[in-house]
């Protein structure tokens, strides 16, 4: 018995003529919490719907627990999906919403009551079981929808932007709850998000998608520190990305943006180099630039510096004294914090 919960093989997903996902290969392990991360329209929802069986792939294979389910209809796959819109049944109470799937399975009434109560307990909604969905807040509806999927004990639970409709505070709360829940139940979960912070905070593994293609997968640490492509780097917050335009001498090179160039005193074989704002050194170094903007952000100051190679973003510890707008500062793009990148896959 393999430990692969979901396996997507050469999956092609299309809406009529529009191919949303050209060829997807992805294995999700049992008990894993995977984040499907990517910009709007990159095919995250489409992929989820295909796994759930709400959409028929044009070609390719979907395996769940080692069984080919490509042709199995959605109601027999044992996949749970928490919709971004919750999709609660408006005519049923909270309790009945959660009991819906169990009733279909002709579960004995006593078992239903016990399971539903346990499910509601798990998401902290026991006291609101008799309310109708319309009488619940967004966060409560969200949790009800989660409970409804959980009591079915799905082989995989898919969550489509589960937190995007919540306000900032509730989102943080639910983030923790979701993580705790996943650890408690050990259920395999895939959740969709276009918020990198959410993906980094929650997931065991992040799958970064672009235009229906997986750009990079890895642990949050991997992706945060070692993006491989320009797109991935940009997505996880490398705000300074430059093209390496040529190596001028044995120990120096030129990096370029659309607007200009900078000479660095080291070499790289990569096609691009990237620095996080906190990787840029300000106040010393071989280059000079003019401060175009500075913003105080609690523990740090966020600078925008106009340089020969265009704008550079740099974060400096707030304990250092501020440099005013219009002043000239020296700065350095150190080799140690440079991340070498490929242009694309």
């Amino acid at each position: 018995m393999s430990d692969t919960a979901v396996s997507l093989q050469n999956l092609t997903l299309a809406y009529g003529e529009t191919v949303a996902v050209p060829s997807l290969n992805l294995d999700i392990h049992k008990g894993e919490l995977v984040a499907l991360l990517g910009p709007s329209g990159c095919g995250k929802t489409t992929t989820m719907r295909a796994i759930a069986g709400l959409m028929t792939p044009r070609s390719g294979t979907i395996m769940i627990d080692g069984v080919d389910v490509t042709k199995v209809s959605a109601n027999k796959r044992g996949v749970g999906l928490v919709f971004q819109s919750y999709a609660l049944f408006p005519h049923l109470s909270g309790f009945e919403n959660v009991a819906f799937g169990l009733r279909l399975k002709r579960t004995p009434a006593a078992v239903i009551t016990q399971k539903v109560e346990a499910g509601l307990e798990l998401v902290g909604l026991s006291h609101l079981a008799e309310r109708m969905p319309a009488e619940l807040s967004g966060g409560q509806q969200q949790r009800l929808s989660l409970a409804r999927s959980l009591v079915m004990e799905p082989k995989v639970l898919l969550l489509d932007e589960p937190l995007s409709n919540l306000d900032a505070r509730l989102r943080l709360e639910m983030r923790t709850e979701l993580q705790t829940l996943q650890r408690q139940t050990g259920i395999t979960m895939v959740f969709v998000t276009h918020d990198q912070a959410e993906a980094l905070a929650l997931a065991d593994r992040i799958v970064l998608m672009k235009d229906g293609v997986i750009e990079q997968t890895g642990t949050p640490e991997d992706l945060y520190n070692r993006p491989n492509t320009v797109f991935a780097a940009d997505f996880v917050g490398f705000e300074n990305i430059f093209k390496v335009s040529g190596n001028t001498a044995s120990n120096s090179m030129v990096i370029a943006s659309d607007t200009g160039e900078l000479n660095l005193n080291y070499r790289s074989d990569a096609s691009h180099l990237a620095w996080r704002p906190e990787g840029v050194i300000i106040g010393s170094g071989p280059h000079a630039g003019v401060v175009a903007g500075v913003a105080f952000a609690g523990n740090k100051r966020e600078y925008v510096i106009t340089t020969d190679a265009g704008k550079i973003r740099a974060d400096v510890d707030a304990s250092e004294s501020a440099v005013q707008i219009g002043e000239t500062v020296s700065f350095e793009l150190p080799e140690s914090s440079a991340r070498p990148l490929r242009e694309a896959l």
């Binding site: 759930a52 709400l54 959605a74 109601n75 999906l81 919709f83 819109s85 408006p90 005519h91």
Partner: protein, 259 residues
Amino acid sequence: MGKTWASRLIIFTTLLFLIGPFFIIIFAGLSAGSSLSFPPQGLSLKWYLAVFEVESFRQSFTLSMFLAVCGTLCALIIGVPAAYAICRYKIPGAETIKLIVAAPIIVPGIIVGLALLRYLVVPLNFTVTLALFLAHTALVLPYAVRVVSASLENLRTDIEEAAVLLGCTRLQAFSKVVLPNIRSGILAAFILGFVTSFNQVPVSLFLSGPGVRTLPIDMLDYMEITYDPSVAALSALLAFLSMGIVFIAEKTLGFSRYV
């Protein structure tokens, strides 16, 4: 001040215009005399009671009731799935279908009646009752489709997918999730259809035979021969019946939201 007076006058006149005839009918039916007149000659309930003695009224009432109930039910059996298909699937020409479905509203009823007589009853030997049934079903169908469509459009589609993922077949999802949520729309369509069918004259005009007449047609015939207040009494009773149905519907369903 003048403005309030003017608007009050307009409201009063409008109400008088709308409700006035109804009161005239109620009182004309209360007459103690033997011909239809207003103001009534004396007061008595005898014509209200007499209505129930007229054999043809009883027959035509039964027929009208049958047509209104069964025709509307039949229209709903066709109309609900039709409305669902139009709303949920990108059927090519859905707009055209909607127009065609609305045809019986647009085409004068008298032409529908004549066409049914000419092309169904006469050449195909359809019985008049069957033709009437078909005519009333067709007449009510557009209302059924419209009203049910309206409540379907307000219903989100993702709950059906949610139901499927919880184990429903598509059909179960429809009956367990869609139907309960459009129930009040369906009931509204039923009442609207019932009233429309029951009061229908032009379509039924050509479609009557020996002993087969709808109540409104029967009343017309009756009045041609006997000009007594029983028709007024009957009209008043029917109006009360309709009002009762709509009142109950309004109380239980918030009917006015759908029309």
